[in-house]
């Protein structure tokens, strides 16, 4: 509520500020902007160069503005300038008296502003003064003070505004990084994220979208039911529930069994229908993996992490209780809920077992299942709206651990699937995390390790997965995977990938390598880059905009932390940029050049593999042909 009204205020006094700033901007630095614009335009084309040229421009810009004619602007700019200086101490020694003067002027300006707008109420007065990044001291004293939220929020908004239109709105000498840093701190303190998580999010999303995402995480998702078609049909269920005073609607068009509950007089989890298993309370996102799995009747399905059974029961319903489902769950305490739900929903074709998912292939045997659903245990960063603890609890290690586990699990899953089953041969991997190492990285790993390929999930909505994230480059077919975000699809953050197992043979490392390299052929790269350019355009541009330190803290954290402690930017940052730029290019060259040389060898090996295999499945031939095509 409070949030809403404050936002209203922001809108109310938004224009005033912008107008004043634009005035100053126009009167002072008119000539510069065109150059910036030109540079920003070609900055899009070039990968990294933009920043290297940008930095000095900014500084010069600040100096230029410093010796402007208008004293007011001069003072103002110096004030801001000094604010920047505050951020980087002892970098360049300026005249202290000017500093003193400017401060004095600042204060008395503030005073006369008070007199001028005495009648205006408080927040407007505060708003009215130009936004500027805080000085270190201010930061410190703020950290001592209990944070006043409206102020934080205002600042966050400001920063977002500035970043969204950086060149026009930024203050002289302030770098993007400064703003980003400030934003991180504020977001962290305002929404209670730990800095790791917030920084990752900041890297993944452009600022505006980031804000939407974080706001979305604050709100709960709507309550969804899944009709249990083993017991009833959606129409009938809706009728019964409406009679009970539940106000609901069909879920969006992509689900035939989903219902959204707006409100209800009766406890929706306590109606006789619920207890009789006519429906399951289940988040919309957990429909997706099962829909991607699309289990057929009389198939052998394995659900490697089944509890609490929402997906298992859905699969069973789709199979009409035919076939068999091995519902595995590793955690003892969750078994109870799993069996309870299975019985409640009248699912009779399941065998509930309690293994570590990684042992399953040994137990159930290799190449025995038609389809495997791996709803992997994950950091849960997609469901922050469900438990807030994720905001603070998770750190990089958790992510990496879960990522490791997930990689093992997905290999186990692939091993269980029988590639030459008539109906199936699919693996569906899903997490409720939006972390790239838990999703795209895992799939990419699987693509390298086993003879599988990504197939469309059969979900016509959702964002395509990342093909490239900063320095990481994934297999281009990863765009077939789907990402779901609370702020876009109004469901939990979710990731779904569907793999088809091509052959039961566990490929030798060379083979895997070849497959990778082959797929890394020039054709795919270009296509991917093109797609990337049109697909998530601004997101990648923003990424680049804040490449440097984010890259730092992703590549090696120790160094990144060091940077943070001594906020030495001008030495930390350019050398960052310098050694970063070639390294990236070199990396890519490395990938490309040897791959060309290897291709021929790889092809022979591949052909040999094919010959060795008794059966020549159609898919394989096609794959071979594709390779040939990609080479020529």
């Amino acid at each position: 509520m409070g949030r809403v009204c404050s936002r209203g205020k922001a809108h109310w006094n938004g224009p005033g500020r912008t107008s004043s700033i634009i005035k100053t901007g126009i009167c002072s630095l008119n000539g510069r902007y065109c150059t910036y614009d030109s540079e920003t335009t070609d900055e899009e084309v070039k990968e990294h160069g933009g920043f290297d040229e940008e930095e000095p421009e900014v500084d010069s810009g600040s100096e230029m503005s410093s010796d402007g004619d208008n004293p007011f602007t001069d003072d103002f700019l110096q004030g801001s300038d000094d604010g920047e200086k505050g951020s980087d101490v002892d970098s360049d020694s300026d005249v202290s008296d000017i500093e003193e003067k400017s401060r004095a002027i600042d204060e008395e300006k503030a005073r006369e502003e008070e007199d001028a707008e005495a009648e205006l109420q408080l927040n407007i007065k505060e708003e009215a003064d130009e936004f500027r990044l805080l000085t270190k001291e201010e930061l410190e004293e703020e950290s001592h003070r209990p944070p006043d939220l409206p102020n934080l929020q205002r600042r966050i908004k400001e920063i977002v505004r500035v970043l969204s239109n950086f060149k026009s709105l930024r203050q002289e000498g302030a770098t993007r990084k400064d703003y980003i840093e400030q934003l991180k701190i504020d977001l962290g303190s305002y929404y209670g994220y730990n800095e790791f998580l917030i920084s990752v999010l900041v890297e993944m999303f452009p600022v505006v979208e980031l804000m939407e995402l974080i706001e979305a995480f604050e709100k709960p998702r709507p309550i969804c039911l899944r009709t249990n078609t083993l017991r009833t049909r959606r129409r009938d269920l809706a009728g019964v529930l409406l009679n009970r005073g539940v106000n609901l609607d069909p879920l969006s068009k992509w689900s035939k069994v989903g219902l959204v509950v707006y409100d209800s007089q009766v406890p929706i989890g306590a109606t006789p229908e619920y207890m009789a298993g006519y429906y399951m309370l289940q988040s919309a996102s957990s429909f997706l993996p099962v829909m991607a799995l699309a289990p057929q009747e009389k198939e052998r399905i394995v659900d490697m992490a089944a509890a609490p059974g929402g997906k298992t029961t859905y699969a069973a319903a789709l199979m009409k209780n035919s076939g068999v489902i091995f519902a595995n769950e590793m955690k003892e305490p969750r078994l109870k809920s799993l069996t309870a739900n299975l019985h409640r929903m009248g699912v009779t074709n399941t065998i509930v077992c309690n293994y570590d998912g990684r042992e399953l292939p040994k137990v159930l045997g290799h190449n025995t299942a038609d389809r495997v659903l791996l709803d992997a245990p994950c950091s849960g960063t997609g469901v922050i709206s469900k438990d807030e603890s994720v905001k603070t609890s998770k750190n990089l290690d958790d992510i990496q651990n879960s990522s490791r586990l997930q990689k093992e699990l997905i290999l186990a899953a692939i091993d269980m699937v029988d590639a030459n089953s008539k109906s199936g041969g699919y693996i569906v991997y899903s997490t409720c995390s939006i972390m790239i190492p838990e999703n795209e990285a895992v799939i990419d790993y699987a693509l390298k390790k086993r003879d599988v390929k990504l197939v469309p999930c059969g979900l016509d909505f959702g964002r395509p997965g990342f093909i490239r994230f900063r320095e990481q480059r994934f297999h281009p077919s990863l765009e077939k995977t789907r990402r779901f975000y609370p702020h876009v699809h109004n469901m939990d953050g979710f990731f779904v990938a569907k793999l088809k197992k091509m052959s039961n043979s566990k490929p030798t490392p060379t083979a895997s390598k070849t497959s990778e390299t082959v797929d890394q052929g020039p054709g795919p790269i270009d296509s991917s880059s093109v797609k990337n350019a049109e697909g998530d355009f601004q997101q990648h541009s923003k990424e680049r905009a804040k490449k440097e330190n984010s890259r730092g803290d992703f590549r090696q954290h120790s160094k990144e932390r060091a940077n943070k402690e001594n906020g030495s930017l001008e030495n930390g940052f350019p050398e960052n940029g310098k050694d970063e730029f070639p390294s990236a290019t070199i990396k890519r060259k490395k990938r490309k050049v040897p791959s060309r040389t290897e291709i021929s060898k790889a092809r022979e090996e591949k052909r040999q593999d094919l010959r060795e295999q008794k059966r020549k499945s159609f898919m394989d031939k096609k794959g071979a042909r594709k390779k040939g095509a990609s080479i020529k």
């Binding site: 083993l230 009409k320 009779t348």
Partner: protein, 926 residues
């Protein structure tokens, strides 16, 4: 003389087989009749001859023999009557063994008769001797040994002497007419005759009055030609005429003023004891007329001794005398009637008189004997008599005003005993009469209510009713006391009224409850009897199971259960098949109807047993709700219609007294479900089926989805393979079901989820015997598509309308129509089914119109329409032939009728020629 006798005899024997055949219809007595005619005839001739020889009173007319020898049927009948009249000495006849007689007969057939005659003579002498003994001791009419005691303590014994004297003479002359009439009426009972008889017995009353006049008026003309034709019988004729005159005079006199010439009743009675057939009948009837007229509207109570002593005024004495004589004569008359009722010859007349009396004066004395007689005949093989009695009883039930209901009670109880005695092997009519009983609720209700309230578990109604009355009297007193407190006059008068009324009410209640208990005892007895004959023993599986457990264990539990249940069913099968030999439950149907009608009056205590019986009966003797697998369906002794009837009755009973408890008759649904399959159009009447469908499926409030779906599916299949009428009924029901429970509409949609909704049963099992276990929801109503191409336009229309039901929720036509109506109108249609369908065309138009009113999203209507055009063309040729056939049949039947009437006319002429007296006419009248 002898010679002529011999000749006669010989002729007789030649004809005897025919006589034998004639007899078969003639009399009710089982044992005697086969060989009696020949013998009795002989016997009787000789007796007569002897009497003539002994006491020559009347000289035989010389030309009697030829007259006899003309046709001996008359003689034989007349003899037979005689033998029947005095059974106990003609009874030896029954003891005779056929062989010897036939031997004799053959011997008779060839020349030497002396031995034979001597044999006969010996026998007859013996007989005549003892007869003589009887006569000179006291000539008691053997039939009613009861003497009549008059006021002055004298015993009147009815003497047979006079009769036996003049019996022979007139017997020959007149016997044949009546008995011809009888024979005719029995042998070839054409409609005309039947109707005539019914009419006769209906307007007995006024005709009687006329008849007396008619007697004189009637025989002026015939007498002329009689005199012209035959002068020989003059004496006999005159005697008869005299008697008739006498009857007429007495009758008219009595009717004019009963008090003065009450004595003449006796004389009439005497005349009615006349040996002559016609005279007897006339006498009876005229007496009947008189009695009906003069019997007072009250019971006559004869004065006790003390009353005799005390001095009374003259007119009182006169009154008493009048009443006593009336009563005595009435009694005598009744006895006479009872006596005659034994004899096949007089049976009808007697029964008719009895019935008329009972109908007319049920309040008067000796009602019980009348009732007894009526009830005895209520299920006689002779359906004239039976109908007569039933009609009487019904009228007795319907207008209880005449007798304050006691008659009803007695009658019902008598019938109950009757049924009991005859072990439920009676004619249905005898139970049908219960249907005309009427119980008024406002009397019944309070009783039941406080019966249920107060007395908990008591099995017999009478006791309950008694205590009812007691505590009800209590109520009365209380109420009257309260009313007495308030002293205004109108209240007093009101109290009086209340008191008097209350008395009446109590009385009525008592009688009603007794009637009810009797009725239901009868019904339940019948059900029980049927049960036992069907012998549906429910051997519960657990018993068998225990046995099995003891005997030995089968390891694998499936085999185990199989044998378990298998043994159960097998044992049961043997049981019931052994007992099943006794089929035939004539009274079942009417008793079921009765229960259905009076179901709202059944005591809740009976309900349980009743339902049990019904269930078992509906199961046809086998608990067939799980007899699909192995238990053979040979254990069905009841016809499908009967079992359907059971279901229907069960539902009626439940519906009529569901008080705050809504019972779901699952087993009966199961039965119906299997019965639909067993139904055969020709064999079972579809009306019952339609009714069952209506009552069980349409009227029932709510079904569970599974069951409804199962029935829908099965009805659809059913309507595919049966006549248009049945399928119409089925479709109407189906539609009704679909309209009522929306869930089942997904049978009309061909989408997934249909199967999965049907729970554990994943796919439709058409042979499941339990609707809940046949996953009908997994199936789709593809039948409708075929049915929409049905040759019968109505069926096709409704089928297509149903198949569009899912997407059009508007109430389509026919939804108001009940399956019964549908069945009826179509079955009527079928009888006159010609494809042009002049009578069906407009209706069909109407349907098409409404049919097209529903959106033709799926092209059913127009498809079916084109279909129908083609079909009609095709069928028109086919049914032209059929029409010709029917035409032929009609013509043939007409021809037959004309032929028959001609024959009748000829016979009539013949009789007129034979003895041109005017008797035949009167015979026909009676």
């Amino acid at each position: 003389m002898f010679a002529h006798w011999y000749g006669m005899k010989i002729r007789t024997f030649n004809h005897c087989p025919i006589d034998g055949d004639d007899r078969v219809e003639g009399d009710g007595d089982g044992r005697v009749y086969f060989f009696s005619p020949k013998l009795q005839r002989l016997v009787h001739h000789y007796t007569r001859f002897y009497r003539m020889g002994k006491k020559q009173k009347i000289v035989l007319p010389p030309d009697l023999p030829p007259e006899i020898s003309e046709d001996e049927i008359e003689v034989s009948d007349e003899d037979l009557q005689f033998v029947n009249e005095n059974r106990e000495y003609a009874g030896f006849v029954s003891n005779l063994d056929t062989q010897s007689i036939t031997r004799h007969v053959t011997r008779v057939a060839d020349v030497k008769e002396d031995a034979l005659e001597s044999l006969y003579e010996k026998r007859l002498r013996k007989k005549s001797l003892e007869k003589a003994k009887e006569e000179n001791v006291l000539e008691v009419d053997p039939v009613d040994a009861l003497p009549v005691k008059t006021l002055d303590g004298k015993l009147y014994y009815r003497t047979v002497a006079k009769k036996s004297e003049n019996a022979p003479k007139e017997g020959e002359a007149s016997g044949d007419n009546e008995d011809d009439g009888v024979d005719k009426s029995v042998v070839k009972m054409t409609k005309a005759e039947k109707r005539a008889k019914l009419k006769k017995m209906k307007k007995e009353a006024k005709k009687q009055g006329k008849e007396v006049a008619e007697v004189e008026g009637g025989q002026q003309i015939p007498q002329a030609e009689v005199l012209a034709e035959v002068k020989k019988e003059l004496t006999a004729e005159e005697a008869n005429e005299r008697k008739k005159y006498r009857l007429a005079e007495l009758g008219t006199a009595l009717l004019m003023d009963p008090e003065s010439n009450i004595k003449s009743l006796k004389e009439m009675l005497q005349i009615s004891k006349d040996g002559d057939h016609a005279i007897v009948i006339l006498g009876l009837k005229s007496l009947l007329a008189v009695f009906k007229d003069i019997i007072p509207g009250y019971r006559i109570r004869l004065p006790t001794e003390k009353e005799q002593e005390m001095i009374v005024s003259k007119d009182v004495k006169k009154m008493r005398y009048y009443e006593s004589t009336l009563l005595s004569v009435y009694k005598a008359y009744l006895q006479r009637l009872m006596a005659l009722e034994q004899q096949p010859l007089f049976q009808r007349v007697a029964v008719r008189c009895i019935c008329t009396l009972l109908d007319a004066v049920p309040h008067f004395n000796f009602r019980d004997s009348l009732l007894a007689a009526v009830i005895k005949n209520i299920s006689s093989p002779d359906d004239v008599i039976r109908k007569l009695c039933c009609a009487t009883v019904k009228s007795l039930f319907t207008n209880e005003g005449k007798h304050g209901g006691e008659a009803t009670v007695e009658a019902v109880q008598l019938i109950a005993d009757h049924v009991k005695v005859y072990d439920c092997q009676l004619h249905p009519d005898s139970i049908e009469v219960f249907m005309s009983l009427s119980f008024d609720e406002d009397l019944r209700r309070p009783e039941i209510s406080n019966a249920d309230g107060r007395v908990k578990n008591k099995k017999n109604k009478k006791r309950k009713n008694l205590e009812e009355q007691s505590q009800l009297q209590g109520n009365e007193k209380k109420r009257s006391r309260q009313e007495l407190m308030s002293k205004t006059r109108e209240e007093v008068s009101a109290e009086f009224k209340a008191a008097s009324f209350a008395q009446d009410v109590m009385e009525q209640r008592r009688m009603q409850s007794e009637t009810l208990s009797a009725v239901f005892q009868t019904y339940f007895r019948i059900l029980k009897h049927t049960m036992q004959s069907v012998a549906a023993r429910y051997v519960t599986v657990m018993d068998i199971y225990n046995k099995e457990g003891r005997t030995g264990w089968i390891r694998y539990h499936r085999a185990y259960t199989w044998t378990w249940l298998g043994a159960n069913s097998r044992s049961e099968g043997s049981l019931s098949s052994s007992a099943g030999a006794s089929g035939g439950h004539p009274l079942l149907a009417p008793s079921l109807n009765g229960i259905g009608k009076f179901s709202h009056l059944i005591d809740l205590d009976f309900m349980g047993d009743l339902m049990n019986y019904l269930r078992k009966l509906a199961g046809g003797g086998s608990n067939s709700n799980n007899s699909d697998g192995f238990s053979d369906n040979s254990v069905k002794h009841l016809t499908v219609s009967e079992r359907l009837g059971c279901c229907i009755v069960a539902f009626k009973v439940m519906r009529n007294n569901l008080d705050a408890l809504n019972v779901d008759l699952q087993d009966f649904f199961v039965q119906l479900y299997s019965l639909i399959l067993e139904y055969r159009p020709g064999r079972d009447q579809g009306g019952v089926l339609a009714e069952a469908l209506k009552i069980m499926l349409c009227d029932d409030r709510q079904h569970d989805m599974q069951r409804a779906a199962a029935f829908i599916k099965r009805l659809a299949t059913f309507s595919l393979c049966f006549g248009s009428a049945e399928s119409m009924a089925a479709l109407v029901t189906l539609k009704h079901l679909l309209q009522k429970n929306v869930k089942c509409r997904n049978l009309l949609e061909n989408d997934a989820g249909g199967g999965s909704v049907s729970g554990p049963i994943a796919k439709y099992q058409p042979y499941a015997s339990d609707p809940n276990l046949s996953g009908a929801l997994a199936s789709v109503l593809w039948e409708l598509n075929l049915l929409s191409k049905h040759y019968h336009p109505t069926v096709s229309t409704i089928a297509s309308s149903i198949s569009t039901l899912s997407d059009t929720h508007n109430q389509v036509f026919h939804s108001n129509l009940s399956p019964q109506q549908a069945f009826m109108e179509l079955s009527l249609e079928q009888e006159s089914f010609n494809p042009k369908g002049d009578l069906r065309k407009p209706t069909h138009k109407r349907k098409r119109g409404s049919g097209s009113s529903m959106p033709a999203g799926n092209g059913h209507p127009d498809i079916s329409s084109t279909e129908e055009e083609v079909m009609r063309k095709k069928l028109s040729e086919h049914f032209l032939i059929l029409r010709d056939i029917t035409e032929n049949e009609r013509l043939k039947s007409e021809l037959d009728r004309t032929m028959m009437s001609l024959k009748l006319y000829e016979q009539y002429k013949k009789q007129r020629k034979n003895q041109g007296s005017s008797k035949p006419k009167k015979m026909r009248n009676c």
